[in-house]
């Protein structure tokens, strides 16, 4: 059985280690070894940090089929679950790590604010946030770190307003979020950071119970009162929304900008065409091309599942590597080329199946506003260092850059 510690020597040496390294000088491309595996077939085995050897699914069609299959589980406590790091501590971060029906019950408590119309109504506010931050940048010294001055504040300000979290606390929650999603953090560091965030959200819930506002945390306190949600469950959900709401989008803003700066023809196309259709197509293509959640979504099989003539056994661990799925030539012709005019809308950058990203309408709108504003307002924007000096987040479960020095 896979997913358990294997005695040394039991497995042939050719099972490769996962996660794999990207090639030097190709910061936007998935690891070459993943490409090679995908060429071989849709399914293979990899070896994890603990010696376990789960399956890895590399092709787009098989990934989608599997992610829509109710016979797989995200429950980290099940034997065989291919944990990306030494165990995360006892408290899972809300419904992202729960199976249906509990996952669906909790998720539906927070879906309303992410409906397309509700998100569209926020567009002018996001435009204003974006413009104000650019004004401040233009008035300040250069070069400037785009991550700190722009990429992190945009989504942080937005999710804070939506949740009812004071933005003044951003140093605190950004620091702790960073620790939680860092691969190299120790289990102790990670669970301490989680504990601090949960405590913080818990205090905020107290305030909202006493003094409800027009925000998501206040709405969650209603669910606590009706007994639909425990106090701890509400705090966990707040932690999930706060982390997921800013880290991912921030990385897409900074890494997307870098990818465009390295592809000046594409950047010019986007900047010069005042066309919302091209902007939204560019957002989808950058999501596909960059696929920032590069750690592979982890699952464990609940029953035997046959794929491509092979049988995944109940209890086998599964890694669905959507980063390489988004580079599958069977789904995207010439997949390694960034082409903002292609139709990439069927990408799996937000996952697939019932866990597909809850915040995607918000993320899309934020990225549309940012990509259609930043390069037009600062047409001479350029990198203030060499590409090989840019610190990439190789050690994070969300890929991106730690810093992006830019000037104009």
């Amino acid at each position: 059985m896979t997913g358990t510690l294997n005695p040394a020597g039991e497995h042939p040496a050719e099972i490769p280690e996962y996660p794999m390294a990207r090639a030097a000088g190709c910061p936007f491309d998935p690891p070459p070894a993943l490409h090679a595996m995908q060429e071989e077939g849709p399914l293979a085995k990899v070896r994890l940090w603990d010696g376990s050897t789960p399956w890895i699914v590399t092709r787009y069609a098989e990934q989608r089929a599997l992610l829509a299959d109710p016979r797989i589980s995200v429950d980290v406590t099940r034997p065989g679950y291919p944990s990306p790091t030494p165990i995360r501590g006892s408290s899972p971060i809300s419904f992202i790590l729960m199976d249906d029906p509990e996952h669906a019950r909790l998720r539906r408590m927070v879906t309303a604010p992410f409906a397309i119309k509700r998100v569209e109504a926020l567009r002018p506010a996001v435009q204003k946030i974006t413009d104000d931050l650019i004004d401040t940048m233009l008035a300040g010294p250069k070069p400037v770190d785009l991550v700190e001055a722009f990429a992190l504040p945009v989504p942080s300000l937005v999710i804070c307003a939506l949740l009812g979290v004071p933005y003044a606390d951003h140093d605190f929650f950004q620091e702790n979020s960073k620790t939680i999603i860092k691969r190299s953090a120790t289990p102790e560091q990670r669970s301490a950071a989680l504990g601090r965030l949960a405590g913080y959200l818990n205090d905020l819930l107290d305030e909202k119970l006493a003094n409800p506002g027009d925000d998501m945390l206040s709405q969650l306190t209603e669910r606590i009162k009706t007994g639909e949600l425990s106090r701890e469950g509400a705090a966990q959900m707040g932690v999930l929304l706060l982390i997921a709401g800013h880290e991912t989008t921030a990385n897409m803003i900074a890494l997307g900008t870098l990818a465009l700066l390295e592809n000046p023809g594409q950047l010019a196309l986007l900047r010069d065409a005042d066309d919302p259709k091209l902007v939204s197509s560019a957002v989808e293509e950058l999501l596909r091309y960059l696929h920032i959640t590069h750690n592979g979504r982890r699952w464990v099989a609940l029953e035997d599942i046959e794929i491509d003539g092979q049988v995944i056994r109940a209890g086998d661990g599964l890694i669905v590597a959507n980063d390489i799925g988004n580079r599958d030539p069977g789904a995207f012709p010439d997949p390694d080329r960034l082409d903002i005019r292609r139709d990439a809308r069927h990408h799996v950058a937000f996952g697939f199946g019932v866990h597909q990203c809850l915040g995607q309408p918000l993320a899309r709108m934020e990225l549309q506003v940012v990509y259609s504003t930043l390069y037009r307002r600062i047409p001479t924007l350029r990198l203030a260092t060499d590409l090989d000096q840019v610190p990439f987040k190789h050690d994070g479960s969300v890929y991106g850059v730690y810093e992006l020095p830019v000037t104009w």
Partner: protein, 64 residues
């Protein structure tokens, strides 16, 4: 073309609304998809088919 939605499966991703806003909408209370037109005209057929392709919950069914 006949379209149906399985609202129990829907995870309120909004993908169908983005793909074909004339045919799909979302409920105010929880973002679950609702059908505006179960029998869309031919010129919307491609968008509706695309909605079914990108629906992460496989909740949209089409009879051609």
């Amino acid at each position: 073309m006949k379209v149906t939605i399985d609202q129990d499966r829907c995870v309120a991703s909004g993908q169908c609304v983005v793909a074909a806003a004339e045919v799909f909408d979302q409920r105010d209370e929880d973002g679950v998809a609702v059908l505006l037109n179960p029998d869309p005209p031919a010129e919307q057929a491609a968008d509706v088919r695309h909605a079914a392709v990108v629906c992460p919950a496989l909740a949209i069914h089409i009879e051609e």
